[in-house]
């Protein structure tokens, strides 16, 4: 793999500007995707992109390339300068970041980095072979190297590894789902993932419809992680707060959720997918978003912090150079665990309700109120008398996330990282550390098809 920091420094050196900052993202990955128990989309990717941000007379412009030759970097610098020249000066631009000591984090595993295409195919085969049903999903592993260099002296580089096994198993009118992610591929057992999916799938045959209405529910970690991710887009970043899209607008310091709910963004946690710095080279730090149900804050980058004033500083959440318009967003959400030993134990707390394994195609209906719609799939069950009962067809839900989190009878003890990277664009591993959760409020608004594919 290339020397990302050296490449970033070359890009900065090629620039003629008051300030220059280069971000390099390098990827080497293998993706053994399978369907019908056969690998059908095997994809090997090797790519490097360099983004150069220049500041000239207070004007800011960005250009990017994957041509790392001297001519390519010179052209990059020229295009970035042209971009900057086209823009009016930005008085509110806080300037580029200054160097700061970076935390030491884990997140790199040599054995994972050493996995070759043969290994990725073999690990996909392990998932396929472990199921007696037809399998769909993938095994992937990759190495990502991120570097930030700037004319202010920022020099930051980190090499990350990640591996995910994701399996849907399906038969006649039945399907189940499981997934496991880690920065250590050795922690990911594709066969065990397939067996978990199988076990769920076998309970889904004979699914029945459900009358729409309010239900108590148990959400497995897969469901909770995805729901929180969508909630975070508007509510847990500083830009949403400043633009009053956030549910937290006007509610910081208030008790908004059940006291059992504590949510942080913690990229330093080795149980997740650790990172030392953001895309400006600012050190990552743990940010408490919700403490025992009280709204405490959101994540910030330098630009939103400068706009807000009031002593706000970056929390190390500057987005990737080509995604800055989204503003700072959490990429390492972490939900504190509870007391329950298992999701089944949570069913006991719910008594009568529904059990949701996985969600599908979420969409934000009302950002300010945290209303999200979507479907359940691949393992939806009725809970009766505190136990999992008959399988259900896929359910449409339209829920207010704040209401869903307002009465939480319990959570499982151990949060587990759930991959939420769909691998669009450059690879940058991220996920949510989430336990399973029981809620009193889950609003079912319709029914769809049954399990199976």
């Amino acid at each position: 793999m290339i020397d990302a920091l050296e490449t970033a420094e070359r890009a900065v050196a090629a620039a003629e500007a008051d300030e220059a900052e280069a971000v390099v993202l390098a990827e080497r990955s293998g993706f053994a995707r399978f369907a019908g128990s056969e690998v059908h989309q095997p994809t090997l990717v090797e790519d490097v992109s360099v983004s150069l941000r220049l500041v000239v007379d207070g004007k800011v412009g960005v250009a990017a390339t994957n041509d790392l030759g001297d001519d390519g970097l010179r052209r990059l610098a020229r295009r970035a300068a042209e971009s900057a020249a086209s823009a009016p000066a930005e008085e509110s631009f806080p300037g580029l970041a200054e160097p700061a000591p970076l935390p030491t984090v884990s997140g790199y595993d040599a054995d994972t980095a050493a996995l070759e295409p043969d290994d990725q195919a073999r690990l996909a085969a392990a998932a396929i072979d472990a199921s007696t049903l037809l399998t769909y999903g993938y095994f992937t592993s990759g190495v990502t190297r991120v570097a930030v260099a700037s004319s202010h002296g920022v020099r930051a580089e980190q090499t990350l590894t990640d591996a995910t096994a994701l399996v849907l198993t399906a038969g006649d009118e039945m399907s189940g789902y499981a997934e496991l992610t880690s920065w250590r591929a050795g922690d990911v057992d594709p066969a065990a993932v397939a067996r978990e999916a199988d076990e769920t799938a076998r309970r889904t045959r004979g699914a029945r419809p459900l009358e729409p209405g309010p239900y108590a529910a148990v959400l497995e970690r897969y469901a909770l992680a995805e729901l929180l991710l969508y909630f975070s887009y508007d509510s847990l970043g500083a830009l949403g707060l400043l633009e009053e899209r956030s549910y937290f607008t006007g509610r910081l310091g208030e008790q908004i959720f059940d006291p059992r709910i504590s949510i942080a963004d913690d990229a330093l946690d080795p149980a997740g997918l650790p990172k030392a710095f953001d895309f400006e080279g600012v050190p990552k730090r743990r940010v408490d978003l919700v403490e025992t149900g009280v709204a405490r804050g959101v994540v910030w980058d330098r630009e939103t912090a400068a706009r807000a004033g009031n002593g706000h500083v970056s929390t190390g959440h500057s987005p990737a150079p080509l995604e800055r318009e989204w503003g700072p967003l959490p990429t390492a959400l972490s939900v504190a665990g509870g007391e329950a030993a298992s999701p089944e134990e949570l069913a006991g707390l719910v008594g009568d309700g529904i059990y949701v394994t996985r969600l599908h195609y979420l969409s934000v209906v009302d950002p300010r109120e945290g209303v999200i719609t979507g479907m359940t799939r691949d393992g939806t069950f009725r809970i009766r008398n505190g136990r999992l009962a008959e399988p259900l067809v896929n359910l449409r839900f339209t829920v207010s996330v704040p209401k869903l989190l307002s009465e939480v009878p319990g959570l499982t003890r151990e949060p587990i990282v759930t991959n939420l990277n769909d691998f669009y664009g450059a690879r940058y591993p991220f996920g949510v550390l989430a336990p399973a959760l029981a809620t009193v409020h889950f609003n079912v608004t319709g029914t769809g098809s049954g399990p199976g594919i």
């Binding site: 095997p42 994809t43 009302d366 319709g446």
Partner: protein, 477 residues
């Protein structure tokens, strides 16, 4: 690029592939966005590389390299063969025959949007945004985009094609807030505006500055509008919302690779079966849908797809009956039908997948006023706000930015937070009128997601406003 692709194909065949194709892609894209009177983004991105897809013993393999060099091309070819050879199990694949494709294609543009100076683009956005100014509009934003993609395809089945696709687009949003309420209005659509394979003249014709005052006024008016009531009623969808309805509930279900389960674990499958071809009633007699990669100005317009299949208009739904699927050479061989060109990859680092091209609801007759005239009590819904559909593309729920009450054939009061929901065949079965060609609009979106690793496709949809009876509206949390 053509020689490099040929070298890659040759290297793949020498390494044991029975079939190989290589695509070299050079893409340049620009984005300019302004927000609240300041420049938020001025971005100019280039990417180039080459991807090689092979069949070895019936198993696919794909690898890519960012270097447009002989070393990069042959290295990607060898890695793709090795990955295919590593695939577990026994494989058998047949590709539908295709005549060797040769030729070139270029988008028709009057003024190359990439060559329009960036400061003109900035100025265009700032002017449009200034026209959104209103005391209760707290966030204004405008954006333009431009892209040029040159790509070469060479295959071991004789394809040798070079195409240059140029596209651009624009849009704006106004966010209004007051007393804890929040509303948004966009033009010409939400989620990134409209795009077309066209020159800068397309962006100018959208008239952002002209439309901005109306957009801002409506955003503010929505703050005090009544909520959309719940119940079953007649709805008329504007072209923009109908395009997304078409995309989600027709476009994705007719992708034959999904029907065969290749997207099952991620984007889902389809309620359709291969055996439904020619017999399944998808909707009412008024429903006529085509897939047309020859539509002028569409984002899915080309001469050949990424397998070298020539572009051809295909009937998908005729008088409500399913007549076609979107296919690849592999899926066309399985079903014994198809063609028209639907395989596309996102850049050089991804395998081609079955993708929508320009999926169009053919126009009916009359004006939107005539559609509304036959609504005694209903809703007119404009501009998508939220969207969701289940994994088999049956149960959907959409929200729109704005709704209008329709009483005795006339538009009445404005309503906020409108949603509607339904089941795909029942919903399309309730279609009882589509407006005529004068109201028909083709527009493109750039964020159609599919595949793992993920790919974003640029696709277009043509639609005129249409009327649906007995639709559930007003879903609440």
């Amino acid at each position: 690029m053509r020689d490099l692709c040929a070298s890659a194909v040759e290297a793949a065949l020498a390494a044991g592939a029975s079939y190989a194709d290589a695509r070299a892609v050079v893409r340049r894209s620009q984005t300019v966005a302004t927000k609240n009177g300041r420049v938020e983004t001025v971005r100019d991105v280039e990417s180039e590389g080459l991807g090689v897809r092979v069949l070895v013993g019936g198993a696919w393999g794909f690898a890519c390299d960012r270097r447009l060099s002989n070393e990069g091309a042959t290295g990607a070819a060898q890695r793709s063969v090795a990955f295919a050879q590593a695939a577990p199990g026994v494989h058998e694949r047949t590709l539908a025959p295709v005549a060797p494709a040769g030729g070139t294609y270029e988008s028709r543009v009057e003024r190359d949007p990439i060559e329009v100076p960036l400061d003109d683009k900035v100025e265009h956005c700032l002017r449009a945004e200034a026209a959104l100014a209103h005391p209760q509009v707290t966030v204004t934003q405008a954006f333009v985009r431009a892209q040029r993609e040159r790509k070469v395809l060479v295959s071991s089945d004789g394809a040798s094609v070079e195409q240059e696709l140029v596209e651009c687009g624009a849009g704006l949003d106004a966010l209004a807030t007051a007393d804890g309420a929040y509303q948004i209005r966009s033009y010409p659509s939400a989620h990134g505006g409209w795009s077309a394979q066209a020159g800068w003249e397309y962006v100018e014709a959208l008239g952002l500055e002209r439309e901005a005052p109306r957009v801002a006024e409506q955003a503010v008016a929505l703050l005090s509008a009544d909520p959309c009531p719940a119940g079953r009623t007649t709805v008329v969808l504007d072209s923009e919302q109908l395009q997304l309805q078409l995309h989600e509930s027709v476009g994705h279900p007719i992708e034959l690779d999904r029907v065969y389960g290749t997207e099952a674990a991620y984007a889902g499958t389809s309620f359709l079966q291969p055996s439904d071809l020619g017999s399944l009633r998808y909707g009412s007699e008024r429903m006529n849908v085509t897939a047309d990669p020859t539509s002028p100005g569409g984002l899915g317009t080309f001469a050949f797809d990424d397998e070298g299949v020539p572009a051809e208009r295909q009937t998908i739904v005729e008088a409500g009956v399913l007549r076609g699927f979107l296919t690849s050479r592999e899926t066309a061989a399985r079903i014994g039908a198809g063609g028209g060109g639907s395989m596309r990859a996102d850049g050089w680092s991804r395998m081609p997948l079955v993708r929508m091209t320009n999926l169009n609801l053919e126009p009916g007759e009359g004006s939107i006023e005539e559609l509304l005239a036959d609504v005694d009590d209903g809703l007119y819904l404009e501009t998508n706000k939220s969207w969701s559909i289940d994994d088999k593309r049956l149960n959907f729920q959409f929200g729109t930015q704005i709704a209008w009450e329709v009483k005795r054939g006339r538009l009445g009061r404005m309503l906020r937070d409108a949603t509607y929901t339904g089941i795909t065949p029942q919903f399309w079965g309730s279609l009882d009128a589509v407006a005529g060609p004068q109201a028909w609009v083709l527009s493109g979106l750039t964020n159609c997601g599919k595949g793992q690793p993920g790919q974003s496709a640029h696709v277009s949809h043509g639609a005129a406003p249409a009327r649906f009876r007995d639709v559930q509206v007003g879903v609440r949390a």
